[in-house]
């Protein structure tokens, strides 16, 4: 018999209309989501979460007084799954993506909502929320990009990797091999494009469609179109990317 899990859910968004839209969509598109409470006030939201112990929280990021991240920081043991919602905030999205936490951009696309909720259900069964939320809180307190950690889901579970330990990522038929400063390379089922977006920053560069490198490991550039990384690794630089890459190095 198919067991349909009911997901106890709380919605927090300072905009009344945003709450109404989300509620309407969830009722239409995600029948296993049960909305047990909703609020426009983040402080009340904290109380609701503490009292009602939800499985899932939809949390708006840009709110006056307490933003979504501040709400999360109020918990010693944030073991609830979160799907963040934001209209436009690259910094916040980057931080969320680093920890493999769900998010939606407003206006919400129906298929994105369905896929995020499906993901959340799987995560609730695997009970990964606490670790990811704690990592997000930790990262928010770290100023240097390279000192932050990213979470990479793998077959065995979640891997926590410090960005500065990543030497280079190599795309291979839809998968990505992550070469670390020490130890065995890791394999992720995400594409290199995913990691390019995840590490989009002045400190990483996609020198080739299947090679994303950490610029701090560059030892030298060879004019024929190669870059040598520490450990004597020779990585090809695509012809059409050379000019931009060299300009980046000069700066």
């Amino acid at each position: 018999m198919l067991k349909i899990m009911t997901i106890k859910t709380i919605l927090i968004d300072d905009e009344r209309k945003a709450l109404a839209i989300l509620k309407n969509k969830l009722e239409r598109l995600c029948p296993n989501v049960e909305i047990i409470a909703q609020t426009q006030n983040p402080k009340e939201g904290i109380k609701l979460i503490k009292n009602l112990n939800p499985d899932l929280v939809f949390l708006d990021i840009a709110m006056p007084e307490l933003n979504g991240f501040d709400v999360l920081k109020q918990f010693d043991k944030p073991d609830f799954e979160i799907i963040f919602a934001t209209a436009f905030d690259n910094y916040a999205i980057e931080a969320i993506k680093h920890c493999a936490i769900g998010y939606l951009v407003k206006p919400v696309e129906n298929k994105d909502l369905i896929s995020e909720v499906t993901n959340a259900v799987a995560n609730i069964e695997e009970k990964t929320a606490l670790k990811k939320n704690r990592q997000l809180i930790e990262n928010l307190g770290v100023q240097t990009f390279q000192k932050k950690k990213i979470i990479i889901p793998s077959v065995e579970g979640l891997e926590f990797v410090k960005i500065e330990d990543i030497v280079h990522c190599e795309g291979e038929a839809g998968y990505t091999k992550i070469h670390l400063e020490s130890g065995k390379p890791m394999l992720s089922s995400n594409s290199i494009g995913h990691f390019n977006k995840l590490l989009e920053n002045n400190e990483f560069y996609l020198v080739h469609k299947s090679h994303l490198i950490n610029l701090s490991y560059i030892e030298k550039y060879i004019n024929e179109g190669y870059v040598v990384l520490s450990g004597n690794k020779k990585i090809p630089v695509s012809r059409n990317r050379r000019q931009e890459f060299l300009e980046l190095l000069k700066n």
Binding site: E109, N110, E224, G225, R239, R242, Q243
Partner: protein, 270 residues
């Protein structure tokens, strides 16, 4: 004057002359150097300025008010019909396209793959507007490496928009748009945009009657951008536009863009 005094005096004069010439040469040299530096700085600043202009032009060419309002109008249409899912879908696609516009217009170049993603999104929105009366076909040469070849962002979208709004819009019956990417060699490619609309000659005539300047404006922006891109020495793009009725008995307009890469030849792989 004694002999010694004459020798001394002439020596003194020679030394003086040498010192003067050194000072003079140094001053001229310094002057030239400063002038050269100044010129370099100026041309660098000019290039930067030009780049900013390009970005602005790109944005202007993109956020075409006609497109924005036509899209919002179509959303209103679906809301009135009470087609909730369709309205939502349309709105979300529109919002995604705006995000892409903002993101890409800040970049100097984007891969063909990303450009195709944006065009698909744009064309899907236009399809919602025209309902069953519009279809598009994207033909991509298998030999084309869409991840390793780049083009300036926002070059193709205004061309498609022109084809739809001034070619296909005025046509009765099924409108069709073909966008074809062809590989020319390892680093050059051709893009053709072919519509079966009324053709550029008729469209121009109609616009003259209506005293409408929009087409002229957007094609002016496009030409201006292509010229600036050529001047920037980073791109070499050939642009050609013909009315299909001139060479065949079909109607419509064909725009051909050839992206040539003869700029990085000196660092060609050995």
């Amino acid at each position: 004057m004694s002999k010694e005094e004459i020798i001394f005096l002439s020596l003194f004069c020679i030394v003086l002359l040498v010192v003067f010439s050194i000072v003079f040469l140094f001053a001229t040299f310094n002057n030239r150097k400063n002038k050269l530096l100044q010129e370099q700085l100026e041309s660098k600043l000019n290039n930067q300025k030009r780049q900013h202009e390009l970005e602005l032009n790109a944005l202007r060419a993109q956020m075409n008010p006609h497109f924005v309002h036509n899209s919002l109008n179509a959303i209103q249409y679906y809301i009135q019909l009470n087609e909730v899912e369709k309205s939502e879908d349309y709105l979300a696609k529109f919002s995604k396209l705006m995000r892409q516009f903002f993101e890409y217009s800040r970049k100097q170049s984007i891969s063909i793959e990303n450009e195709i993603g944006l065009l698909k999104n744009y064309l899907d929105i236009e399809k919602l507007r025209f309902e069953d009366n519009f279809n598009y076909y994207l033909k991509i040469d298998k030999a084309l490496d869409t991840e390793e070849l780049f083009l300036p962002p926002m070059i193709l979208q205004p061309i498609l928009e022109n084809a739809i709004n001034h070619g296909i819009f005025h046509k009765e019956g099924q409108g069709e748009l073909i966008i074809e990417f062809t590989s020319l060699n390892e680093s050059s490619f051709k893009v053709e945009v072919i519509d079966n609309g009324i053709g550029i000659n008729k469209a121009k005539a109609m616009n003259l009657q209506k005293l409408q300047t929009h087409t002229e404006h957007s094609s002016y922006v496009l030409e201006e951008r292509l010229m600036l891109l050529k001047e920037s020495k980073n791109w070499n793009i050939d642009f050609k536009i013909i009315d299909r009725s001139l060479n065949s008995n079909q109607t419509g307009t064909k725009v051909t863009l050839v992206f040539k890469d003869d700029l990085n030849v000196e660092d060609y792989d050995h």
